[in-house]
């Protein structure tokens, strides 16, 4: 049966709504993806996984776009997906299988150029950050890169503020113990005495 004018009008309206929705989403994608890609890189430690993680987070946001947009909590929602996806046991295991062969290459390619003044210590600090357990790394990234408060970090990770505090404290202690002496006051004191 040929569509009636009413049908055509309805179809056009649906198409218009979809177009508007996609335009809104595309605008959000363009505005927010640079920031999320950076956060994702700090969480994953390589470009390929970071892009994959962000793509997944935005895909899930796309599926829930109308509802999340209406609630006005888009940034929090997508960031929570990003971090929790990264922490997921499942994702972790299959990503390991998929990329185990090229991780080393990517790691080398990913290393940015460092300011000579800070090279060494900063590179070592980054190396240690990457050895932190995933959840601890997520806490460090949210607290010291995103500069979120303890409460905001707890909300994104779905954990208590107390846990954020303890994870932060442990992570800082690990970083201090395993990075060069310039960051370890105890080592500096020992050097001064020798």
């Amino acid at each position: 049966m040929d569509p009636t004018p009413e049908h055509q009008t309805g179809t056009t309206a649906v198409a218009d709504r979809r177009q508007t929705r996609d335009a809104d989403f595309a605008a959000y994608l363009a505005a927010r993806q640079p920031s999320l890609l950076r956060t994702a890189y700090l969480l994953t430690g390589n470009r390929h996984d970071a892009e994959d993680l962000v793509q997944n987070a935005f895909a899930k946001l796309y599926l829930s776009w109308d509802k999340v947009r209406n609630q006005g909590s888009i940034d929090g929602y997508v960031r929570r997906i990003l971090v929790n996806e990264h922490n997921s046991l499942w994702r972790r295991a299959w990503k390991k299988r998929e990329h185990i062969a090229d991780d080393e290459t990517l790691h080398r390619l990913d290393r940015p150029h460092h300011d000579a003044q800070h090279d060494g210590v900063d590179a070592a600090l980054w190396d240690v950050v990457q050895t932190l357990p995933r959840k601890a790394r997520a806490v460090v990234v949210l607290r010291y890169y995103e500069e979120m408060s303890e409460a905001e970090t707890a909300a994104v990770l779905g954990i208590s503020v107390g846990t954020v505090k303890s994870q932060t404290s442990r992570a800082l202690a690990t970083l201090r113990d395993r990075t060069p002496q310039t960051l370890n006051p105890r080592s500096r004191e020992e050097d001064d005495l020798s």
Partner: protein
């Protein structure tokens, strides 16, 4: 460590992370790429929904239905009981079969399991009381003799606080997160921050270490088996190393060693008869769980769901999504232990966007789960026939924070 030193490290850390993140400059995702990924996710969800709906229509439930639930603790149904209800769920008060829609449910009896609501303890008889732990309670479990073990936090530290049957508390002891009990609720186990398993048995004077510290950076407690650690008990600890390798360890009085039986990647639960469930495969689209057969039971495996816990009598298995995407569990299912027949599956949909952080066994045929949907949290009772009702009516809340904490380990076997 003083504030200045912390500030110095924090400043350096922020600069390092900002510098490193510049690697991603120039990367970009196109709308079409994101839409393509979204279509794949939608297809995966749809495939799961078809499986759930098929299971819901096909399966006959051999257990007590919600309609007869009184909030008490019915005797476990014998495995040969005549089927009482099919899963076509034609009750108009029930949401569509296969859908986890808790927006409008009938209200049933209060939970037959203690729970915390905004820090206040709610008892089985409907009353409530203040919690007198030294620190803020975050989890708890009821032991078989009426004593309780609390997990609490204060600032950056986590503690275990044991409350005797007369209400008095032991001095708090430090712990990392995680608290488990055995099916009979005679043993409570937790981990120290150095990977040492500590157990406390109801009636004991003090908690004591079990085995040797478990190595690894990401440790979680899996399960506790046995009834008396002075005779024989095992605590399973799931470990993951920095490379993502998963290996459960078994910790006994004799020591700690990798658990090789069954080749599990993680151990989720051990029933009172010794049957074990856990993950045995992980794939792109999800995972597979298995139950090793033993004695009269035939084992099974499934890639539709993750097997989570045994019912108190060990006859049923609670399951959640095979793919955990971190938003929360949008699917719940139950299986028969013997042979693995699926009893029901319910999942969230685009119009019913629900999820739950955890579910606990209330009795042999019902679980309770705090569920979030449409800006509200409720405690929902879900029967082994897939029927649902409110055990606690919805209250407003945010998706990040459930006001409800159900007793760890659910109901003790033998109750």
């Amino acid at each position: 460590m003083n504030e200045h030193e912390n500030d110095e490290l924090a400043t350096r850390l922020t600069r390092t992370l900002t510098d490193q993140a510049d690697v991603m400059a120039g990367s970009s995702l196109a709308l079409a790429t994101v839409q393509g990924r979204a279509r794949r996710i939608r297809r995966r969800r749809a495939a799961t929904a078809v499986v759930a709906a098929a299971a819901a229509v096909a399966v006959v439930v051999p257990t007590v239905a919600l309609a007869s639930h009184t909030g008490g603790r019915p005797e476990p149904a014998p495995a040969t009981q005549t089927p009482s209800r099919t899963l076509t769920t034609t009750d108009p008060a029930q949401p569509k079969a296969g859908v986890l829609d808790v927006s409008d449910l009938p209200t049933g009896a209060p939970p037959a399991l203690e729970y915390l609501r905004s820090g206040r303890l709610h008892f089985i008889d409907g009353g409530s009381g203040t919690v007198n732990t030294q620190h803020t309670p975050v989890a708890f479990l009821d032991m078989y003799d009426g004593s309780r073990v609390w997990q609490t936090s204060q600032g950056s530290a986590s503690y275990i606080e044991i409350q005797d049957t007369d209400g008095t508390f032991h001095e708090p002891v430090r712990t990392s997160l995680g608290l488990r009990t055995n099916p009979g609720h005679t043993i409570a186990a937790w981990l120290t921050t150095s990977g040492q398993v500590v157990v406390w048995e109801a009636g004991a004077t003090d908690p004591r270490p079990l085995g040797d510290p478990v190595p690894g950076s990401e440790l979680t407690l899996g399960a506790v088996s046995g009834n008396d650690c002075s005779l024989a008990c095992t605590v399973y600890v799931n470990t993951a190393d920095a490379q993502g390798n998963l290996q459960p360890w078994e910790v006994t009085d004799s020591g700690s060693q990798p658990a090789r039986d069954g080749s599990y990647l993680t151990v989720a639960d051990v029933a009172s008869n010794g049957l074990t469930i856990g993950l045995d495969k992980i794939s792109d689209s999800g995972s597979c769980s298995k139950l090793l057969g033993g004695g009269e039971f035939q084992g099974f495996s499934t890639c539709r769901n993750t097997l989570v816990s045994f019912s108190p009598d060990g006859r049923l298995v609670l399951a959640d999504p095979a793919y955990h995407d971190g938003i929360g569990n949008g699917e719940i299912a139950m299986y028969r232990t013997d042979g693995g027949d699926p009893l029901f599956q319910r999942h969230s949909t685009e119009s019913a966007q629900s999820f739950y952080p955890e579910a606990r066994w209330e009795d042999a045929t019902h679980v309770l789960a705090p569920v979030f949907q449409d800006g509200q949290w409720s405690i929902v009772r879900i029967g082994s026939d897939g029927s649902m009702e409110y055990a606690v009516a919805p209250v407003p809340g945010t998706d990040a924070n459930s006001p409800f904490v159900l007793a760890t380990g659910g109901t003790a076997y033998g109750d």
